[in-house]
Symmetry: C6
Subunit: 257 residues, 6 copies
């Protein structure tokens, strides 16, 4: 329906603007932190810039997928829309890992292997989720979803534990921020499988068939869910990274160059 | 009517130009204040840049909503026009809070909780107002309007009190500016609910039904009201923030790097 | 007629180019004066940049207002053309005031109230003139014109007196420039009401009905008059401001940082 | 004819490219001379940038003036083409005067009055020439041409004499360059009235009627003549100004900052 | 088929985005390494920028080669698509050689002849491969492929041996990275002839005719194979070069300026 | 034929990309050499930037000269295509002379007259060659070609001799590079008259009529020949200039600022 079309279109528009503004902010804010933490902000800026570009393409794809006759379908394959998002994730999720580890300031020997494991898990998670995203068969979606959830849980576990461990070594002003970072990651990342599940639930044969089939609600819910998740997990998270970098910068005034 | 179409179109055009000029000014003016206050100007520049972009889109949306046959309606849903504005607010109002608090130079322990409360209240205010903005039913509009007014009053109250308290700790040259800032915020923010009410008053069943229904005056009044409010609350306010930063910069000549 | 169309179109084109070139010059020339006077040049650059943008829009509006059949009229309302100019003035005239006062280097206590009075007078002058600009009735035009002339004279009076007073406190090399600035302001600003009157004189019922009605000469004269006035009052005046800043920079070699 | 159309079109294209390349060069070359002479290069860059923009418009105007049917005429008035060139001159000729006097490094008291006289003469020369440029009547063209030649000769005379006088005060390495500059100005400026005369000579009734009427040769010769003159008088001359600035920079190594 | 068209189109889109992001990263990351290694990063940035541009053109070419009627062919010659890739390689492969040798920090006398040999071999490899890429005849493809494989093996051999030799002279922290670089080059470069062979295998008469003819799988496999290879061999490799430069920078803290 | 059209179109595309990449490189590489040699790199960057722009126009011209019906001719005069190239040469060849002499670091008294002679000879060579390039008559082509060859040989002779003489005064590390530069100039410049002759040989009446008339081979050979020549003579040569500047920079470490 037109309302559904518009609400998703608006959400995409808001996401483009937020990512763009965030990119300008992160790049400009590098001068507000110590040189040691500037790469973290640069990566953050890169993440939201990539997201801004992809959401711009996603919005174009959404607009060309539906003609105006009150939301009827036009020939562009809808599958195309979903690839842009996964292409975006496959670039930005590893970068988010890099960003977080960079601002922790961990020793190389700890950081490097952890980052490698996280990046591989991220690639697995995204790769295993894609077949489920483009299918219209509930069983397929569930199978791939579950496979994808394994590396997903692994990542969340590693991050939770490692961030917890690092709490002891962080300056006091930073501890609450790092603690909050842990919560934020888990909270925002939860949205992704939920959004994925919303779409699943609208397919024929879905087990808790709460969402009526063919109502479009599934698609709408998924797209909006992912957009909200992306804003919080990329721009919001980057902002938190900035606060952590800022706090650490202020607590190192003497040794700081 | 054509006159009404043009007057709103012109207002949007003026707003785009003002926001653009303001953005160039705030970004360039960072070099005129001490490093401590530059983030405030950068945020100010970001606010008007975001507003410039959104008003450009709002103007396009307005132009595509009306064909030329002396102002007759064409198929683009008018609801779309309003979302751009609320999308803009949801990004810029929190940033305005940040900007103000940044230039106050308050201690972190005071600033952080205050900012959190203000941002949450801002999100509530905007979120609660949107349903009323898109409805054509007067009762709905009034209900949501009143709900939205609660966080609105809360914000104004907090800002009034806190700015008042900070007067004692500010350098003398800044006090009158800060005092004026308090007044400006209240005066300009008043325009928003008034503009909202103008639209409400043109709906069927409005209680002080001062504005004739179906005359288009309601829509025209709302759009122009919001545009004037936005110019003063964003560009004008940012200019005031600049003056405060400038005054504080000049009063700190020795410790200043 | 085609000739009339072209002469105005050419004038607008020349104005766009002049304002653009002036903007590049003023922004680049900031490095040629002391830091104290750079804001004046930045504001000057902003003024001509805003004028360049508006004249570009004015030219587009002029071109779309007339189809080629030897200058026949096409549907775009001509009222639209005039708003761009007034929108431009409402932004640039206050900035011109700022620019002039900035380069005078007056003490804050003197500058601030004077600037406030001038800006309010400027807004009044422009606001009161607009109804007369868009009317086709001679009496209306004259009434609003006279109302607008009051703040107009007030501004000229204040500037003449204040600039005269400041002559005593300026370095010798600057005095002739400041003197010339006074003359320039009065001379160029005279063009505005004259151009306004030319249009008035072409309306039916004009008292010294020197300009034949319906000849288009009125419109042509007004547009060209305003364009010439704008070039001298913005680019020419900004150039003078530059010379004053340059002269003052050279006379302060020791204390200058 | 197609050949004539192409040869002029090619010439314009070459001019656009040359002016553009020259602009990049002059702006970049400012770092190669002492700060005292950088404004001269900046003005030079501005001159060729303005010329580049105008020739781009002139080329567009030329292309839209002739449809393809082997060079037949289409509705755009040809008068328009000529205005762009005069608009360009009215901005660039005064700037050329500024550029030359800036690189001479003359004392203010000498430079200022001389510049004023030259700029006024330049404006006269261009203003008096325009009516002759757009007319199709030989007598009119000759009359205005002769009137224009008066300030033209005045300018050449002043420059010749003053540059000659300054030879004594210039460092030795610069003298030959300044001498050459004198010759270059006279040589290139000669092209303008000659090109003007070529067009005149193709009109009915021309006294040495060397150019066949209606052959298009007149127009072609004029346009190409002006283009060559513009390249040498703006880009070539600017290059010479650069060499002079460079030579002077090298001869002032100690006092130079 | 539409699915095949989309999968290749998506891959190209992902490649454009990855190369673009990588370019921004490498150029910005120059400030994170010692001046001695910045040229290596600049070349890396240039490589991915060139690849980004070419893949953008490749994607346009792919989209214009197929009309929508479920993947039917439209008139643009498909040969054109392949040239863009080879044009890209002939610029980027030599640059990759330069990049690697630059970060090794070898002595000039060793670096120069080695680079010359590698660049010539690279040109041979690409030149000899092109005829095979554009042919539809299996025998031709195999012949040229084998010829191309000779310089290919030569390059891999030289790099393996030389990188191995340099291991002794590198700081300890860098050895594992250089070792990994060797492996990465061989692993990623293997993809190229494999992708080439996939296309070959789909032609009529292919010896291990594993890929059905006329199924489009050949083309799809080749394009995707090359895209993956390019991402790893250019962006991935450049990232490794960055890590090597970073590690070397950190191990030279004292002599480093 | 389509194949011929494509091969030339591809060559032009490769040239645009190479020149663009080279421009970015030369401008960025200025920071890698001593200030004394930076102008040489700037001129080099300017040369390839101008070539990039012209080849972009040449490619557009080529594409608009041939409609798709398997390479049939459409109305744009082919003469236009050739002018772009000569326009490019008339700007870039003198700049190449400047570039070479700048990096030699010769004394002013030697450099200036030599440069003047070379630039005049270059202008002659290009001017005399153009009539032959646009003619379809073999005799005309030969006559102008021979006239053009005279200044061509003069330039090569002067460069060979002078570069040879300078070998003695250059630092040792540079001698082989300068020696190679001599060879490169002669080798690449040979391509130009050869390409010119290829076209000539395809005309009716050509003496060694090796190229069949009307086969298009002549045109194809010429265009590709010139493109290869341009890449080597501008980008390749500029790269060599860079190496020479780099070598000289390294041999002057102490006096170098
Ligand atoms: C668990 C799970 C998923 C998780 C996706 C996640 C966690 C995506 C995170 C994306 C981010 C953080 C993007 C921007 O940076 C999928 C693939 C939807 C499929 C089903 C199961
Ligand atoms: C009270 C009230 C409202 C208030 C809106 C405000 C106060 C908006 C402020 C916007 C700003 C400051 C934007 C730019 O920065 C609504 C939502 C219209 C709805 C009805 C009641
Ligand atoms: C007196 C008078 C007028 C004066 C206008 C002026 C003085 C405008 C100045 C504009 C400038 C300076 C613009 C650019 O910076 C009006 C409004 C035409 C109306 C009639 C009477
Ligand atoms: C004498 C003379 C003329 C001279 C024109 C000149 C001297 C123009 C110079 C232009 C320059 C220098 C432009 C670019 O900077 C006219 C007006 C053609 C008219 C006829 C007589
Ligand atoms: C062996 C072989 C080939 C190898 C190609 C290679 C090794 C290309 C490398 C490209 C790179 C590294 C590009 C980007 O930087 C060809 C020509 C396909 C043809 C068949 C045999
Ligand atoms: C001898 C000769 C020619 C030589 C041309 C040359 C030598 C051109 C060089 C161009 C360069 C170096 C361009 C880019 O920088 C022509 C005119 C084809 C005509 C026939 C004879």
């Amino acid at each position: 329906s037109a309302f559904q079309f518009n609400i998703v279109d608006n959400m995409f528009s808001l996401t483009v603007a937020t990512m763009g503004a965030a990119a300008i902010f992160f790049f400009a804010a590098r001068s507000l932190v110590a040189p040691k933490y500037r790469p973290a902000l640069m990566v953050s800026g890169l993440v939201v810039a990539i997201a801004c570009y992809h959401y711009f393409m996603i919005r174009l794809s959404w607009q060309s997928a539906f003609g105006y006759a009150d939301g009827s379908f036009s020939p562009t394959g809808k599958g195309f829309n979903d690839f842009y998002r996964y292409a975006d994730w496959i670039l930005t999720v590893p970068l988010l890992m890099v960003e977080l580890i960079a601002v922790m300031g961990l020793a190389k020997e700890v950081a490097r292997p952890m980052l490698t494991k996280l990046v591989i898990a991220a690639a697995l998670m995204i790769g295993l989720g894609y077949p489920g995203e483009i299918t219209q068969d509930w069983t397929t979606l569930m199978v791939w979803g579950m496979l994808s959830t394994l590396p997903f849980l692994y990542i969340l576990f590693i991050l939770w534990v490692e961030l917890g461990k690092s709490l002891a070594t962080q300056p006091p002003s930073v501890r609450s921020l790092v603690s909050f970072a842990r919560l934020l990651i888990v909270a925002t990342w939860m949205f992704y499988p939920i959004a994925y599940g919303i779409r699943g639930d609208s397919l024929p044969g879905a087990i808790p068939g709460l969402i009526p089939e063919k109502s479009g609600l599934g698609v709408v819910g998924t797209q909006i869910g992912y957009a909200i998740a992306d804003i919080t997990a990329k721009a919001g998270f980057g902002l938190l990274i900035f606060f952590i970098a800022r706090a650490k910068t202020e607590s190192m005034t003497d040794e700081e160059r």
